[in-house]
Amino acid sequence: MDAPAIATQGLTRRFGDLVAVQDVNLSVAPGQFFGFLGPNGAGKSTTIKMLTGLLAASSGSIQVLGLDLAKNPVEVKRQIGVVPEGLALFGRLTGAEYLNFVGRMYGLDRETAGKRTAELLDFMQLADQPKTLVTDYSHGMQKKLALAAAVIHGPRILFLDEPFEGVDAIASGTLKAMLQRMIARGATIFLTSHVLEIVERLCSHLAIIHKGRLVAQGSLEELRAGVEGQAAAALAGASPGESPSAPGEKLALEEIFLRIVGSTRRSDQELSWLG
């Protein structure tokens, strides 16, 4: 069996007294489209920052493609692409200059960097703004540029922190097609998103983090089965009207997520003054 693309052991990060991520043991197999979910403040961004070298772990280890991130940071970084929370853009470069720059930072020669820059700008529909500085791009354009920069060197693993936030439907479709093509070619994608419909449609495997702890991990079917099994066990001692889902109907990811993190929608609580 292949070594996991990403594996963490006891990954922990503290900020003073606050334990943002505690004892996380992740395992992502090569070629998986992996969704990393959690409520706001659960520790998703902190975890992805540690996995990509943007943040040091307080304790625990990170293995990427069988390499220890702490011991071989440069070798690991050569193999991964990242769209971090802040997008890591240089505002006073044009899109082409930025992609060229990133390509060369990842060790591409001038010609290859130039060729891929042209292709990526065209693919992302950014080629008609050759003189526009990145700082003048719209948020969606910046997101597309950041994604183009993350893939310019053909990474084996792609880390994406909220890649679809602020991207229009057309661009979103283009991005999804590109990501699925990467998966088909054997790349691994690690994605965080709050848009559960997208995660459900794209990701084959998931992990859910809640209050800094990993509370679930597996394929969507495994997570669904786990939730339904728990619900069925609880049902044995509950009233006959309650059911985990309608007969023959699969639980949606949103429902699975809400049940795992133990949250309920507050629709039943009335705000009487609201029309």
């Binding site: 070298g53 890591a88 006073r92 200059e97 010609e111 065209d122 080629a127």
Partner: protein, 553 residues
């Protein structure tokens, strides 16, 4: 302003805005930085209070003096002073920093009169309003003491003048704010401002050349300008007071009426701008962009610099792209030549007047080069500041910080080399070609100072980074640590340079200085390489702090 009445709803809105400003003020005190800033503001307030009181007494005394001596026409000088300060101070102090985001208020059900008043009242709460009003009060009191019969009239005229100033300052700010919304217009405005500042530097030297003799050109300009001066608000206000004191009431009333017309016109212009804001104008770059499709261009390949690796060449290219697109930086780089020009244009007769280069032109090249180096320290001591969120890329890319710093240092060294060459050429034209021994001593001295500054600069860039914007003038303060370290290093460099020159003088040969500087440069190079080799470890250890500072909104 029809319908401008204070309904209970409006009063509630004003109270809410006042309360939120107060809460923002209190919340700022939660951290040490905010508290220190508050202490600094406290000192600033004391300074403004002293300026307000002192200025008020001085202007009042001058008004009294002019009236009692019958020099009524001179009142206009005092009013022009108040007027120029009132209008220029807020523009210079705030135009190139953060602007008040009025769009935030538009979310709320605020009527236009309320919006107008909020913008006017809260916008006017600034030192220029405080000082200007205080000074005008002093003027009115001075006039009243000189001749109590005219105190009331002077107070009315000066009150109208104060309202005009408040409205005009708001109108200028509203229009400047409109231009500052877009990056391009912001940079053009910044460039104009910088040219204005540079021109201002030449006033002293030119005046010292012209001022000793009665220059016919100056007299001609004065004759031409005088009628215009009397037709403008400060001239009209002075005319209204002076004519009344002379007993000529019709001209006084006409001047006052014209002053009121000006006030009304300014009010209407302000009204146009604020109404446009109120109706939700969108001035973002995206909206301003042409909808016509732009042509695709062939992608230009990155720089190929023989002898250096691809990533270092990429960083070098990126640094030059950044610097060449920064108006403020480009203007800063011109400053050494401007300084030499100021010295060249200054009085050529006396060293006591500060123009020591007129007596020691051999020092022009070292002085210009040292100034070029001093300017560059802003970049060297905070070399990641302009990268902002781009800093994340350096941490996720497979490039060591050794290479990243090498690329940045190379860019800065090339800029300095270009500057030193430009200074040398300028000195040749303005003074005389520097002697070869002075040239060599200067170049080796600059080389030593550069290596030392790069060494410390690399450490400070990692230990105390501060987010900056190359495109913005003003408010580009480095961290306190950097400021103090920079002062210490410059003191050490200049101290060592002074000792070296003394030794060279004792031996009667400038060549000795070049040799000593070369040895010092060798020692600095060892320190530089040591820091460079450890940069990766230090940067990785400090990545949390670095990213927290550079990636914050």
């Amino acid at each position: 302003m029809a319908g401008l009445s204070f309904s209970p709803g409006m009063r509630g809105q004003f109270a809410a805005i006042a309360r939120v400003r107060w809460q923002l003020f209190v919340n700022r005190l939660r951290n040490i930085r905010g508290r220190l800033e508050m202490v600094a503001r406290g000192f600033m307030f004391l300074g403004f209070a002293a300026a307000g009181l002192g200025g008020s007494v001085t202007l009042g005394a001058l008004a009294w003096l002019f009236i009692t001596r019958g020099r009524l026409a001179w009142l206009s000088i005092l009013l022009w002073f108040v007027f120029l300060f009132w209008q220029l101070f807020p523009v210079m102090a705030t135009a190139f920093g953060d602007t008040v985001d009025s769009s935030g208020l538009l979310r709320f059900p605020l009527s236009f009169p309320s919006y107008f008043l909020v913008r006017l009242v809260y916008g006017a709460l600034e030192p220029s309003t405080f000082l200007g009003s205080f000074w005008l009060l002093g003027l009115a009191v001075g006039i009243g003491i000189a001749d109590s019969r005219f105190f009331l009239w002077a107070a009315i005229v000066l009150l109208a003048f104060a309202i005009l100033n408040i409205l005009l300052a708001r109108m200028i700010f509203a229009w400047v704010e409109r231009w500052l919304v877009q990056r391009r217009t912001r940079e053009i405005l910044g460039a104009i401002f910088f040219i204005f500042i540079i021109c201002f530097q030449f006033i002293g030297p030119l005046m010292s050349r012209v001022g000793r003799h009665s220059h016919p050109g100056v007299s001609r300009i004065t004759t031409l300008v005088f009628p215009f001066e009397r037709a403008l608000p400060p001239g009209l206000a002075a005319e209204a007071i002076a004519s009344a004191i002379h007993g000529a009431f019709p001209p006084a009333m006409v001047a006052f009426a014209l002053e009121c017309v000006y006030t009304l016109a300014i009010f209407l212009l302000l009204n146009i701008r604020l109404r446009a804001q109120y109706h939700g104008e969108n001035l973002s770059e995206g909206m301003a962009r042409s909808t016509a499709p732009k042509e695709k261009r062939a992608i230009r390949l990155g720089w190929n610099v023989s002898g250096i690796s691809g990533p270092v060449a990429a960083i070098l290219e990126k640094e030059f792209n950044y610097l060449s697109r920064s108006g403020p930086m480009l203007f800063t780089f011109v400053m050494p030549i401007v300084i030499l020009l100021i010295f060249r244009l200054g009085p050529q007769t006396s060293a006591r007047q500060g123009n020591f280069l007129a007596h020691a032109p051999d020092l022009a090249f070292p002085v210009g080069s040292a100034y070029a180096l001093l300017i560059l320290t802003n970049l060297v001591y905070n070399c990641f500041g302009a990268d902002a969120v781009g800093m994340q890329l350096f941490f996720v890319s497979p490039v060591s910080f050794r290479e990243i710093l090498l690329g940045k240092n190379l860019a800065h060294a090339l800029v300095l080399a270009g500057e030193v060459i430009a200074v040398w050429i300028a000195v040749c034209f303005m003074f005389h070609p520097p002697a070869i021994n002075i040239t060599l001593a200067t170049v080796t001295g600059v080389g030593f100072a550069l290596l030392l500054n790069l060494t410390i600069g690399n450490l400070l860039s990692i230990y105390a980074p501060k987010k900056i914007d190359y495109g913005a003038f003003g408010k580009q303060r480095a961290s306190t640590t950097t400021v103090f370290a920079s002062l210490g290093i410059q003191a050490a460099v200049f101290g060592l340079a002074a000792v070296t020159l003394l030794i060279a003088r004792a031996f009667g040969s400038v060549w000795i200085a070049a040799v000593i500087f070369l040895i010092l440069a060798g020692l600095a190079a060892v320190g530089y390489i040591t820091v460079l080799n450890r940069a990766d470890r230090i940067a990785l250890d400090r990545r949390d702090v670095i990213l927290a500072e550079l990636c914050r909104a």
